[in-house]
Symmetry: C2
Subunit: 796 residues, 2 copies
């Protein structure tokens, strides 16, 4: 993949006042001293890189004219996109905020805490309801589809002409998938996929546009129903996490911006810090509803998202998770006409495993499949990576995307049909008729085609059959063929423009080869090993495959154990997950991380790269910085905000020395969004006259505008008003975190990450602003094959 976009590089930025998005180079109009970036800092890899940049700069000049056509091909894992902004996970402690906090009594804080619990309860309840809705609709629609196809197949099996059945099946699937793909591709592309990478980014502090909107939720729910009913190799569990997060972001704000409805509730929670906490609760509630795993949900939120950790928060997340699984359970029990029976805690139920004594000799065969999960997972991820690269380059129009989805649906149905058709693996129908849609096909009476139990079924049921069907239900050839085909189908499917999760397909692939392994092992040892039940191998295989693809360990262990309902399998599951992670990481990253990287998201990992002590704040910061005076001319502010080439979001506020000659000191930090609100409410002071503030601005005004602050273009400022002054004292964060210039990158990183900052001001020893560190300045550095590498910043 040649990447042929305009790149704004590290060195060129300093000279050209290039664009790093958040509070970076621009000549300040108000006489602010400029501190030039010092290029002397000892970065060894700098020289080699600079030459590449120069080359690319040349190319980019002539490429510029082609940009219109090529602008949709910017993705490359060596880029960092400038289009993503950060969330403010640090409270903006300005005077208004402090005044409000100080006014609040102890009882006020207690009430807040109680309303936090109430919100979490609501989040859990609604997430559970959504999960329930999805489950019931999928169940009903899939039931209709499979019955129609089954009847058709049965009709034509005798008289011949099964190709008509095939066409019926293909058409039905394609229609569902088409609907699902159209709503996603045309209305809300962000709803594609499982949404887990997006939620990971959100919790990490990256603002992914539209990710927690109501519209996204609606499209996601409708889309996941279509794609599951459409017979794609997908699950409905992953999207639940995204759904839970959207519910949380909506409920906690006490209003819907999309519906223009404000309930005047929970106004205190209208800021990023609070919202993030609720979103992590929502994600946990989603996992909890999907797998019936409340503890697993909490751990998922923490393992995937949290740099923050707080006991009270954890308990609230836990509460939301519990309510979620309980709600789902309760309503499903009513649906299954068994009200009050709480044995369906999740969307997927692994069914009951008999607990038997766990022996060390049981674990020995497990060790044999330890590595397989990691290897197959890595293969899956690598294939999907190439496929995604291909898709980014060539399948980026909605029409094409819908067609690809339909193609996959058709191929899936055809392959399934072919596999079933040519399979001669007949099994006697059990006395209890556990099969939902047993296909007889060419089997004798009282028998059914066992290939159909895996292909002609919702994936959840297939997983359960693989776990629990009697030994001998499947012959090895059936399983082998199924594994191979389903592996490629699932890999092809993930990344389509449909809402779909990868959990269930992974489990299904793993269960298939796990069971196959168990059967083969039993036939080799002839007498049958101690684990005669190959269903257990299926469970271990499923865990290994899933672990190899998504690379979670702790949370996944708990999720699997909770879904299995039996702690006995905890130890082997842990072992395989850990090994799958280690083996898989050797080859390629986890699936979600790959997709995050391909989106060029400035994602901050847990630590700075190990070998980055070479770098200091001086080298990583952006400079010079656009600063504002504490009392600044409105015209200057409007000009700075209107500068589309820079589009800064944070501005250090400085105060001039007494005699004007003295250098100006840092005295605060103000955000674009705050300035916008100030301009909108015209909080100006006219020069040489009395103050003309129309009314005192309240915190409420900022909250009402949150989170969709209007663009600067929508605010009209007259020429007279441009001459007014604006007093920022009350609104700026008077105590921004700062670091000296010599602070090492790991230290800067730690501060930035631990406190969830958006802007970190770099000052010299006189407390003058010399630079600003933002998320992109830190996310740029990563450990590549040749040591520390720097990603290119690009305006994608």
């Amino acid at each position: 993949m040649a990447n042929i976009t305009k790149k704004v590089s590290w060195s060129s930025r300093a000279d050209e006042s290039g664009a790093t998005g958040e509070g970076t180079p621009l000549l300040n109009g108000s006489g602010q001293p400029r501190y030039c970036r010092q290029l002397s800092g000892g970065s060894i890899f700098q020289v080699g890189r600079l030459s590449t940049v120069d080359l690319e700069e040349e190319i980019s000049a002539e490429e510029d004219s082609l940009r219109g056509r090529l602008k949709e091909i910017p993705h490359n894992e060596k880029l960092l996109s400038l289009k993503f902004e950060s969330l403010d996970y640090d409270n903006i402690e300005n005077q208004l905020f402090l005044e409000e906090e100080r006014r609040m009594s102890y009882m006020g804080f207690r009430c807040l805490e109680i309303s936090r619990w109430v919100v979490c309860g609501l989040i859990g309840f609604l997430t559970g309801l959504i999960a329930c809705f999805i489950d019931i609709v999928v169940e009903e629609l899939a039931g209709i589809k499979y019955r129609v196809v089954k009847e058709n197949i049965e009709k034509f099996t005798e008289v011949g002409g099964l190709s008509i059945s095939l066409i019926l099946w293909v058409v039905l699937n394609s229609i569902f998938v088409m609907v699902g793909a159209i709503i996603v591709a045309c209305f809300e592309p962000i709803a594609a996929g499982s949404g887990i990478p997006q939620i990971k980014c959100y919790l990490n502090g990256v603002k992914i546009p539209r990710v927690v909107r109501l519209k996204t939720l609606v499209v996601k729910v409708a889309g996941v129903i279509c794609s599951v009913v459409g017979g794609l190799a997908v699950g409905k569990e992953g999207p639940m996490i995204h759904s839970g997060a959207v519910v949380a972001a909506g409920v906690s704000q006490g209003r819907s911006t999309s519906l223009k409805k404000d309930f005047k509730m929970f106004e205190y929670f209208r800021r990023d810090t609070e919202k993030r906490d609720f979103v992590s609760a929502g994600a946990a509630a989603g996992v909890s509803a999907a797998f019936g795993a409340p503890v697993g949900g909490v751990l998922f939120s923490l393992e995937e998202g949290a740099s923050f950790w707080n006991q009270m928060l954890t308990w609230r997340i836990f509460f939301a998770s519990m309510i979620s699984t309980f709600t789902l359970n309760f309503f499903l029990s009513i649906y299954h006409k068994n009200a009050g029976d709480l044995s369906n805690p999740g969307l997927i139920n692994f069914g009951r495993f008999e607990s038997d004594r766990n022996s060390i000799s049981d674990s020995v065969p497990v060790f044999n499949i330890l590595c397989a999960g990691g290897l197959l997972g890595a293969l899956f991820n690598k294939l999907n990576y190439w496929l995604t690269i291909f898709r980014i380059s060539y399948v980026h129009r909605p029409g094409l995307q819908v067609m690809e989805a339909m193609l996959v649906a058709a191929v899936t149905a055809t392959v399934s049909f072919t596999m079933i058709y040519f399979s001669d693996d007949c099994q006697p129908l059990g006395p209890d008729h556990t099969e939902e849609y047993p296909l007889q096909l060419f089997c004798a009476d009282g028998e059914y085609n066992s290939m159909a139990t895996t292909f002609f079924n919702t994936p959840e049921r297939s997983v359960r059959s693989l776990f629990h069907n009697q030994p001998g239900t499947y012959n090895p050839l059936t399983l082998g063929l199924f594994t191979v085909t389903y592996f490629f189908l699932a890999c092809w499917t993930y990344g389509l423009t449909v809402s779909a999760g990868v959990f269930i397909p992974s489990l299904l692939i793993g269960a298939a080869w796990g069971r196959l392994f168990g059967i083969l092992l039993a036939s080799i040892t002839a007498t049958g090993s101690i684990w005669t039940d190959s269903g257990k191998y299926a469970l271990i295989g499923a865990a290994a495959q899933l672990g190899g693809i998504v690379r979670m360990t702790l949370s996944l262990t708990v999720i699997m154990v909770e879904a299995t309902g039996n702690v006995t399998y905890g130890l082997p599951i842990m072992l395989v997950l850990m090994t799958a992670k280690i083996v898989g990481d050797y080859f390629v990253e986890g699936l979600y991380d790959i997709h995050i990287k391909l989106q060029s998201v400035p994602f901050l990992h847990w630590d700075a790269p190990a070998t980055s002590h070479w770098l200091t704040a001086r080298e990583v910061m952006s400079s010079p910085v656009t600063c504002l005076n504490r009392i600044e001319k409105v015209g200057t502010i409007v000009d700075i905000l209107s500068n589309t080439s820079t589009n800064h979001n944070g501005f250090p506020v400085v105060i001039q020395g007494a005699d004007g000659d003295e250098p100006s000191k840092l005295c605060g930090l103000i955000l674009r969004s705050q300035l916008i609100v100030l301009l909108k409410h015209k909080v100006f002071v006219e020069l040489a006259r009395s103050r003309l503030t129309l009314r005192k601005l309240q915190l409420k005004d900022f909250r009402d505008a949150y989170p969709r602050f209007p663009p600067i273009q929508s605010i009209h400022v007259s020429q007279d008003e441009r001459e007014c002054m604006m007093d920022l004292t009350e609104f700026m964060n008077a105590t921004p975190y700062t670091v000296p210039q010599d602070t090492s990158l790991p230290r800067v990183f730690k501060l930035f990450r631990a406190l969830g900052l958006r802007h970190l001001v770099v000052v010299d020893d006189e407390n003058r602003v010399v630079g600003l560190v933002t998320r992109k300045d830190l996310a740029r550095y990563h450990l590549g094959k040749h040591g520390l590498e720097e990603l290119q910043l690009a305006q994608t």
Copy 2:
């Protein structure tokens, strides 16, 4: 409780250059400008408090002479002790450190990472071994004891004279407990109790002297064996957590300071940051070994300890936990002559609960016992609180402590004997002889005394009997009496000068009343409810009681579920734990928090008190600050370090302006321990001559001295040397975190807590040092009944 010690208060400190322990008021000899504390800051509660202080100041003057006698009575929950120092959970990034990091290649970091995993594996292995050792020794000794007593009782039941049996029992118990109490009281008082509060403090960042030493481990292990065999109402599970932590602190350092043995390994890990990570792994391994709950162990470490959170770290902790439970399991299986059977993952095994369908109607009765756990837990804690206050005042000599322990042992044995003696609850011996030591006493042949199954048994076995014995094994009166007596015995026992945990007694009490509740419920509903098995009520009761006492929710849920081995009980367990916490917190704090408070430990909670936005760094900081010049006279340094009245630990380093008149700017921070090493190695620069540094100091020199830096008194500095200068540039942390004076307390708190700081420098807008915030300055503020309260600092 009158508290009659010398108190150094907030206001007096500022005037008297009082003692806050870490880097606080002292007149600086080198012409450093002093910034006085501004008393104008708006703390409303200040006036009322000041008068109390004045009063106490007067008292303290005359009390001073009595201090020798009274010095052991300083404890009061309104005090904050000055004797505890902080740990450095922030890397000291000085030039030496940075140079080392920069020298290290990517492979070097990989090797480090691998050695971290190796260390965690070792920690798990050794912790498992220790658990195994404790279990086997307890099993053997208790077996001998119970057999001897049983034979004796059987002998005297027929001929009369059971009082001899009683005496035998009492004497046996007392001897064991005496040994246990003597080693704890005389050799290592820190080994008393479960050690969980101490480990909580350690992970929080408080240096509790001797808490992770080898000697402590030895005493702890021996002590816990003695107290369990001595028949006290204690468990051996809590101390495992402490043991695991000690193992971790030892192994990770690659040497034993106590044994004077240095393996020259893991030298990189010889600092607080790294050690803390391993200690949290050790604590998790301890929980894991105690309850067979690896995931629960990880959660325990996180819920109780972590403000830090890092994915890689979590996985290592998880690894240590798994190895620990696996090791224990493996060796116990050999001991039980059943090698390879992995069904004993923990020290306590709840036995197998049948999984049956969970129905909502099952949960209804559960709601009835929801509150009981919280209430009984709160009662337990309150009683224990009063008892501890009493002990602190009157039982503080080793002799007395040993005698109290023996008294408790004797009373426990007597009460047990009496209860068994007067019980006429005979049960037929089961066909499978599940009872280990069935006492026939006055029962008919083929029957045994059922009171004896609970009293005449190790607590672990009693818990298991209560969970699993057939319905009808216990009559309600037996259970009621047992609950009441054991409740008071356990409450009396916790806090004795023996190594002992409170987990098992809590479980036992809860299991007893839970089962009682189940029996009563069944007899009321007559037909028998759906949960006819009262053993399940015992399980729920046990969870409720334990939750009510220790107030953990998430980790305890997982621990209980893992110990039960059945996820089906997850939901009810969660419910009772959550309710127990809410109900209990209404009355009194958790047991561990009470003990932490009574020790006056400067423990930092998760957040600053809600109503503390009133306070700013200016009000909470200590000032003026003792600063050092970057090139400072050795004599000055020695004098500052020798000042026993202040005993500072951190010193901001400042640099004088060019013309001497300019105010001096902050340029670094140096610790007492670093200065000590510098003085020891005589890294001096003689004035007016060439440099005389004998050799270049390495990071290794600091690491070798860690963590037991010699006191300043042990370092001899001649008069000539006093005139030399010392260049601190290379050794100071050149980029300490700073905050402006106006930063609100919650913001300061967040920075301090999230980064695990020890000293936070407060600067003015010219970057001059105006104050220093340390742990005590933040821990002082807490929410009391009347809003924000301030604790008194005391030199206890």
